[in-house]
Symmetry: C2
Subunit: 512 residues, 2 copies
């Protein structure tokens, strides 16, 4: 048994079952150890951002960490953007980053670099000091990833620690559970929420679970407060008969408008809301100083328990006023028609990975009228999250249909994820919202006061010269694809894609 | 005039002419400023690794930095792998990384992260403190990038520093020039190289320039020393009547064999050679303790001046024994036949970006028999360098044909570079060496003693399930492509591609 075996076996004992891997030379002994651990699944990504985004999606759906296996500093760096999203989603993820053999680091060989400096911005990091302690470090990393509310943990594994002999696996660590919320805090929240103009702001997986949104709805029924959710949720349950916790709008002016009503705000797993970006003349915080904020549950607290306790005190019945079901639209394939039709046809139990950017914001209006589904959002704003996250969600939940609702610009950052969908025969329908522009940046240029962008600004936000042929890209990675240009065509293609096993891609060429 | 204008104008004054950009919201004022600077070209990449790799290729070919324009920590992170290669190549590169408005950082908005921690491993980094000092910081960054021998310099630009009013551009800084090598050092090198078994090891752009390799050849003619070069060169001139400085082999056993002959080693721009990776039972250093090493020129020294001074003292004539020209091969498309045929057909003045991994190592044997060309290597070992580097080389040298000799596995990391080739109509011929495996890792598994890899190890080094269709990927990104399966087919396709303007892709499906 070598160090690599003890690391993998420790992970298996701790409940880690999947390793999203893009290994290199320094990871070969870890790769061999995967073959000696029957309960550990290995999934290859052609680019590290696919692996880390998949681990994020997997962790969001299961609540348990997947592992990634990455190659030294540059390989880890390629995965940072999606680890940043995982950090903001508070997803448990464990990275195993192979490094030079410990005695070879001083030689400063070409691939050597400062991995800890790269890893620190996304979470917990430790460099293992040898095979004898690799299992223990592995257990610590997994426990660190699972400390409430969840985080990214990176373990640097020198090649010799993997290949040297070692004694055996370590006992899994005990992650820090969510902190219970005290009765005083709950009573204070009850008091605040009973006042006119109170808002309950939900954030995090627990508060936005089915039980969480139902409890929040009962609280709202009993107190008259409004319920909102953070702009981008890690995992949000919605559709069918579930109560709606509308997300805060993306642009700060609109979010400030949405919160203007609030006389008091109570946070349940959410943070004090801030603008995504700072704009000249706009504030950082979305709430005014005269809108007091109380915390029912901080992100590391037991938000669901707190909501349920509060609902037991002040809640009334959980009946939800029936909403009209979404019906498919017809005609030109506008952002609205696409969102409405997708909502109408979404299969029951679907997982929607929403990285559709401007198109996705429009979909939010229709999603509550869709069948019961789970929505995964772009928590950290690092684009290129959608397709990898869909890979991870599909591996986590093989019995649920996954729809990757994907902006074209963002999708190109990690388009290699299509290949893993094909290799693993994942039931993912990729809907590419092809507006052939960084449309959100065109809006941002205008917001920055650049009313008439020059040729360079236009070129830097344009994806139509040349047009990206998504059907060809899909074919290149082994995924069947079709391009549609009107709403009826989209509806037909989406129905067909859902009926087929394995991944399918629909390029929805948007009008206007 | 705002801060953004002063930054761009300062760069123009310092001779920076190209900006490889993948901007986001925080960079909109910098984008607008590009339009007000007619002498600054803006080139869009669909992924940040394309931008940084292109800046590396551009800097290698011109000796001057290009700028990159990247979006906060995650955008920068996506560019780190190719910045790592630039760092090892000692290429001057300037990164402008937009960040949150300074007053918005404390809000810890979703995209906020520790950019300096991410940037430190690749070189110089500074965070600007406001519009008034942005031009000065910009000048400092450019000078830092150009300090001998060249490096990566990252300037973090808060959004408000870009949009706030500012006084004007700054005077370009004065980079630190290469240090002159003293006469004593040259005399010592002359003495050492005159001994039996002496080796002169060249590294860096200056020593491997035409003048550098010719001076080294004259030294060898006069002293009897052997001339070698580092395994992966930033930029190496070779072919036609140029003397050859054979690269050290990649695997350490072979490199040690190649150096076994040496009684003394003199370094000219090269580092004391070390193994790419540490292996159990193998040393870090490739030289033994009884092989003394003298430094004629360290990387920051004037290696070319030193070589020419040395050649003037001990060199004889620079005549090169004529080599047989490479002739195209025929038959099955093996690694050898591909390399031989590529060498035979390479057009005069070509730039070859060699990220062909196992196939590229075979090509090295044939390259000296090719027409006069410039070769750019994978200096830092961070794969995904080839296609972006070809973009940058083609933009730097629009009158020279570029061949991207590209491994299939590596090429997939930054395949989005194909789109920029199409958009900019770059004269790049991409030759994809399609062995449909991470072949080098299959070799590394064997070297690690894993004689019979299990199903997971086989899957993690396999790219054939499903097969990646490179012609479809090229079409998706707007590049014409063709797949060839024998040597004659490759020769015909390569000749056709050279005759066509704009980018072309040839998928060379390798046999055996």
């Amino acid at each position: 048994m070598n160090g690599a075996d003890t690391l993998i076996e420790t992970a298996v004992r701790a409940g880690v079952e999947v390793c999203f891997a893009n290994p290199g030379t320094t990871e070969m002994h870890l790769v061999a150890a995967l073959d000696r651990a029957p309960r550990m699944r290995a999934v290859l990504g052609l680019f590290e951002g696919v692996c880390t985004g998949a681990a994020d999606g997997y962790g969001r759906m299961t609540g348990r960490p997947a592992a990634t296996l990455l190659h030294l500093g540059p390989g880890f760096a390629n995965g940072i953007a999606n680890l940043h999203n995982a950090r903001r989603a508070r997803t448990p993820v464990v990275n195993w980053v192979g490094d030079q053999a410990s005695w070879h680091r001083a030689a400063d060989a070409p691939l050597t670099s400062d991995i800890e400096s790269l890893a620190q911005p996304v979470g917990w990091v430790r460099t293992n000091a040898g095979a004898a302690t690799l299992a223990r470090d592995g257990a610590d990393a997994i426990a660190a990833a699972q400390d409430a509310p969840g985080r990214v943990a990176t373990l640097v594994v020198p090649a010799d620690a993997a290949w040297d002999d070692a004694a055996g696996a370590a006992t899994p660590g005990v992650p820090k559970p969510p902190a219970a919320v005290g009765e005083t805090t709950i009573a204070e929240a009850a008091d605040v929420l009973g006042r006119a103009g109170a808002v309950l702001l939900l954030g995090g997986v627990a508060a936005l679970s089915e039980a969480g949104v139902r409890a929040a709805h009962r609280i709202a029924s009993g107190t008259g407060c409004r319920v909102l959710s953070e702009t981008f949720s890690s995992r949000l349950e919605l559709g069918a008969d579930l109560p709606v916790a509308p997300p805060l709008p993306y642009f700060p002016e609109q979010a400030i408008d949405a919160l203007d009503y609030a006389t008091h705000v109570v946070l349940a797993g959410a943070r004090d809301p801030v603008a995504f970006f700072g704009y000249a003349g706009q504030p950082s915080r979305l709430l005014r100083d005269d809108q007091p904020v109380a915390t029912l549950a901080a992100p590391a607290d037991d938000a669901l328990g707190a909501l349920e306790a509060l609902a037991a005190q002040v809640g009334t019945d959980g009946r939800v006023v029936p909403r009209p079901e979404a019906a498919p639209a017809t005609g030109p394939l506008t952002v609205g028609c696409l969102g409405q039709t997708l909502a109408a046809l979404l299969p029951d139990g679907a997982i929607v990975v929403n990285e559709a950017a401007t198109t996705g914001l429009a979909f939010n209006a229709f999603a509550p009228g869709a069948a019961r589904h789970t929505s995964l959002g772009l928590t950290g704003g690092a684009i290129g999250q959608g397709l990898p996250c869909a890979v991870g969600a599909a591996i986590a939940c093989p019995d649920r249909p996954v729809t990757a609702f994907q902006a074209d610009g963002s999708g190109l950052y990690t388009v290699q994820a299509l290949w893993t969908m094909a290799r693993e025969s994942l039931d993912v329908t990729v809907v590419v919202c092809a507006n052939r522009a960084y449309r959100i940046l065109q809006a941002e240029l205008a917001r920055a006061g650049i009313a008439e962008p020059g040729p360079k600004a236009r070129a830097l936000t344009d994806l139509a010269h040349p047009i990206v042929d998504w059907v060809a890209l899909a074919k290149g990675f082994g995924v069947p694809g079709v391009s549609v240009h009107d709403t009826e065509g989209f509806a037909a293609a989406y129905r067909r894609a859902l009926a087929e096993p394995g991944p399918q891609l629909i390029e929805a060429v948007l009008q206007g």
